[in-house]
Amino acid sequence: MQTAQKSTSNQPQTHSNDEALVVIDNIDFAHGFGAHQVYRGLSMRIPKGKITAVMGPSGIGKTTLLRLIGAQLRPQQGTITFAGENIHALGRSDLYELRKRMSMLFQSGALFTDMTVYDNVAFPIREHSQLPEEIIETIVKLKLEAVGLRGARHLMPAELSGGMARRAALARAIALDPELIMYDEPFAGQDPISMGVIVKLIKELNQSLGLTSIVVTHDVAEVMTIADYVYIIADKKVVGHGTPSELEASDDPLVHQFLHGEADGPVPFHYAAPSLEDELLGVDNAR
């Protein structure tokens, strides 16, 4: 067994013979004209047909990463390729064409609140095809069956529980049979049962549909059971990656801290601040 490679170099590392669906090459990204740097020299390879987990502490910009892959955001430097195409070099209509091949499960579910569950799932099909309504109905029922919500198709999103809303959104995400599906914090705020349901769904969908999945999360225990490959992001770049078992065995302090949820370590418990003594004394002096 080999230890996890530390990403001291910026090159994406070939870890297997798998073909990569998404390649992120050395990107820099900052919000609002450099006000807030999110990534510096980030590189990744997302293998085709596998579940790749991206983990990291909160506030590290994991959602930003998914938006970059979906080309909703544009990196200041570096390239992202999807199935061999540089997505940020595409024109607007080509990009929208390409987006039909990927889909994203948002943290909130992002169901359209003015439509029923059925219409939500049917929406992408109606938008992108001229199929007759009977065929759409069949497809929608199949997709809803896959997430176990066929009986709930006449409900409005407001009538669903959080877990059901996420499953309905998942049905919508797979409505067009995409190649890539990105999960943004799929486990956040779920009770243990619906968490288990979603873990099961991600795994099943990946196997049955041959999807490539990217799961962005900080729920270590759940994702380690289903992920084929794991990236850990911290401090604007990848700090560790490997298969779950490789990472478990890693002796890198940061990876270790993250996987085992220790309060203090390389990621400090305290937000950057002058030392407590100085600050208290400073208050004294000012008085």
Binding site: Y96, E97, K100
Partner: protein
Amino acid sequence: MLDRVAALGRTTLNTIAGAGAAFFMLMRALVGKPTLRKSWPLLMQQMYSVGVLSLVIIVVSGLFIGMVLGLQGYTILVDFGAEQSLGPMVALSLLRELGPVVTALLFAGRAGSALTAEIGLMKATEQLSSLEMMGVDPLRRVISPRFWAGFYSMPILALVFSAVGIYGGYLVGVRWLGVDDGAFWSVMQSNVEWGQDIVNGIIKSLVFAFVVTWIALYKGYSCTPTSVGISRATTSTVVTASLAVLGLDFVLTALMFG
């Protein structure tokens, strides 16, 4: 010091980017071939929520403003023995100014704030992002029908406002205060000109419709997707749109009647 200059530069860049973004948002929403099969139901739905639902407030305000104009105008004009001029006074105030302007202000408060809040919430709940990721352009799907609905609805509302207002003035002036029925209408007719007054009023309300709807949509589309951000954007829509309407009204009046 240099940090402050840099911060100033960043704010400037963000502001310019904002203005540019507002322009491009509108361009991208409006340019391109609409598909009638999909756009028509969307437009109908928005015409309903933006136009039809604003009708009640427009009719009620129009009636009362017309009645107040009739009452105030009468008490002033009767001192000069010129109460026959009540008709044109009411009609011209409504057609040239109050119809388009008050309608635009009410529209900004009623429909504009609702548009901002709706789009802001769609953004906060990631519905807009979700559309984009589904390969559906939210500008076409969400912004464009709302824009056209506002653009078509407001002139209709302004016409209704003026018509109801004139009727309100008639009720107070003729039915209540006893201005001569025939004189009220005939003096009005000899002073109100189709091209000069009615068409210019419609042009005004088209301009206001464009500006108010645009502001409302952009404020929603660009808001910070939090509860504070949405409430700020909604307030900002009403304030900005009202100021824009009043400022533009002066310019348009100067150009048309000056």
